[in-house]
């Protein structure tokens, strides 16, 4: 394996993404959200009520109407942390993943432009390495951005509330995993269609179909055939709903048994592995 070349391809993916300004936009969005939380959201402990806080937005205290009249909005610290973590996860799924797919699928298909590919294929780097390096470059780009967001937000939550919670960071890693699984499918489609548009749409359709797994029982109640189709889709496609449930559990907002966790992670990883293997197989045998 040509390790220097492998890393050069990853580096190049990042440089190209930077040049296209898409990763700058992503970094700015993350930075903007963190700055908003750092300077826009104020948290103050309520005197005489340990563990309870009031919240202010840009210095204006949040208030609620009660039977006794308007009062400061008071909430347990732990609930505030969890609410913000849920909000962060809500931003990452689907918006973070969607944006990530949009950026990285374009990066992958740009490698397949003929004149560019000729220069790459004529170098001492195997096609499987080239494919995998470009894929890894995309995943790492999303990994770094997601980690920056989750670590930054967790740090800010600790500074503001004193609560140390690494659940959001762990949830961020699962978000990156979901992205990596979807991206393996997007790269295969980008390879087959040599474009970004169809690959992105097909990936979104696949994501939607994979989500049907959560509605298997309801669909079976409607029609046994629909139920069977949902079953097949559930076992073939990545378990995005289960993975989202794992994320909710990590931030303390849901339940998910260990066997579910391993089954969902394992079968989704298998799906990603199969998509990558198929992509590499086709790429290695294709004439350019």
């Amino acid at each position: 394996m040509n390790a220097l070349a492998f890393w050069a391809i990853i580096e190049e993916s990042w440089r190209e993404s930077w040049a296209r300004r898409t990763s700058i936009a992503l970094a700015l969005i993350v930075l903007g959200l963190l700055l908003f939380f750092a300077f826009g959201v104020g948290v103050r402990e309520v005197e005489g009520q340990p563990g309870m806080i009031t919240i202010s937005l840009f210095g204006v205290k949040l208030r609620v109407e009660t039977l006794a009249g308007e009062q400061s909005f008071v909430i347990p610290k732990a609930d505030f942390v969890q609410a913000l973590e849920m909000l962060a996860v809500g931003l990452l799924i689907p918006w973070g993943i969607l944006f990530g797919l949009f950026i990285t699928t374009g990066l992958f298909s740009s490698m397949l432009v003929r004149g560019r590919l000729y220069l790459l294929l004529s170098k001492p780097i195997a096609r499987w390495e080239l494919y995998l390096a470009r894929y890894t470059g995309g995943v790492l780009l999303v990994f770094v951005t997601t980690l920056l967001f989750c670590v930054g937000l967790s740090l800010l939550l600790w500074l503001k509330t004193g609560i140390v919670d690494v659940g959001l960071i762990a949830a961020g890693l699962v978000v990156v995993f979901i992205f990596a699984v979807l991206y393996s499918f997007a790269t295969l489609l980008a390879l087959l269609t040599e474009g970004t548009g169809v690959a992105l749409v097909a990936t979104l359709v696949m994501w939607g179909l994979a989500g049907l797994g959560a509605w298997r029982d309801s669909l079976r109640a409607l029609s046994p055939t629909l139920g069977s189709i949902a079953d097949v889709l559930y076992y073939i496609l990545p378990k995005v709903n289960d993975l989202e449930a794992i994320i909710m559990r990590l931030i303390g907002a849901g339940e998910s048994s260990i066997s579910n966790v391993l089954f969902s992670l394992g079968t989704s990883a298998l799906f990603a592995g199969a998509m990558l293997a198929l992509g590499i197989y086709i790429f290695s045998r294709r004439d350019y």
């Binding site: 440089r15 190209e16 560019r116 220069l119 004529s122 170098k123």
Partner: protein, 246 residues
């Protein structure tokens, strides 16, 4: 080292491009065989669609042959490691536009697995006349400057075999002369060169041997002296191609 060792050897190479849904497409190569000895400058001639680029792509593992064999340095040309010995300038290339010239060369040097790169990059930028513009982004380069940079990326790792597809396209007369001089210098240093070009006078002046391809078939192969005993290379070329069309 044996001075007459074959650097390139293709035997009965056949290639047909498939159409949509596997339908029979264009037959690009119809059993082409040729050899290129070490230290030679070999010219590949032929009109558009003759199969020159397909032959080159098969040698580099960019395209796969249906039948026949292709060897580089006596080994199967599909071996990835062999590309450490080969430099390639495609006819249609796309350099990374968003990086500075030296950074583009640094990227390609890494692909060749070169550890120490900076001295060689500086030397090639100097040889290409791009030293003053080393920090300019590739997108700011003219066509001619890009062509020089593309040629430089093929020479980075001091290849033993240099494959050039239309190397003087986009170059002005001075640039063409410089490329010609560079090829002569490379030959002196023992580099084998396979050059595909439409510019027959260029081929006639610098090549030791030439092969004329037409519609995937090898019409003629020999030294420039053998082919041009009675007529110029241009006349021989036109006569052969017209003869094959009739």
């Amino acid at each position: 080292m044996d001075g007459h060792r074959n650097v390139v050897e293709v035997i009965q190479l056949q290639k047909r491009y498939r159409g949509l849904w596997g339908r029979a497409g264009v037959e690009a190569l119809k059993g082409v065989s040729l050899t290129i000895a070490e230290g030679e400058i070999f010219g590949l001639l032929g009109p558009n669609g003759a199969g020159k680029t397909t032959l080159i792509k098969i040698l580099l593992g960019i395209t796969f042959a249906d039948h026949g064999r292709a060897y580089l340095f006596g080994q199967d040309s599909q071996r990835v490691e062999l590309r450490r010995l080969v430099g390639y300038l495609p006819e249609d290339y796309q350099l990374p536009e968003y990086v500075r010239a030296w950074k583009a060369l640094d990227f390609f040097a890494k692909l060749y697995g070169m550890g120490e790169r900076q001295a060689q990059i500086s030397e090639l930028l100097r040889l290409s006349g791009l030293e003053d513009r080393r920090d300019s982004k590739v997108r700011e380069y003219s066509k001619g400057m890009r062509q020089r940079l593309a040629l430089a990326q093929a020479l980075l790792h001091k290849p033993k075999l240099l494959i050039l597809d239309e190397p003087t396209a986009h170059l002005d007369p001075i640039g063409r002369k410089e490329v010609k001089d560079l090829l002569v210098q490379l030959k002196r240093d023992g580099t084998t060169v396979l050059i595909s070009s439409h510019v027959l006078t260029e081929i006639e002046r610098i090549c030791d041997r030439v092969a004329i391809l037409h519609r995937g078939q090898l019409l003629k192969e020999g030294t420039v002296e053998e082919l041009t005993q009675e007529k110029s290379l241009e006349d021989v070329f036109v006569e052969l191609v017209r003869g094959a069309q009739e």
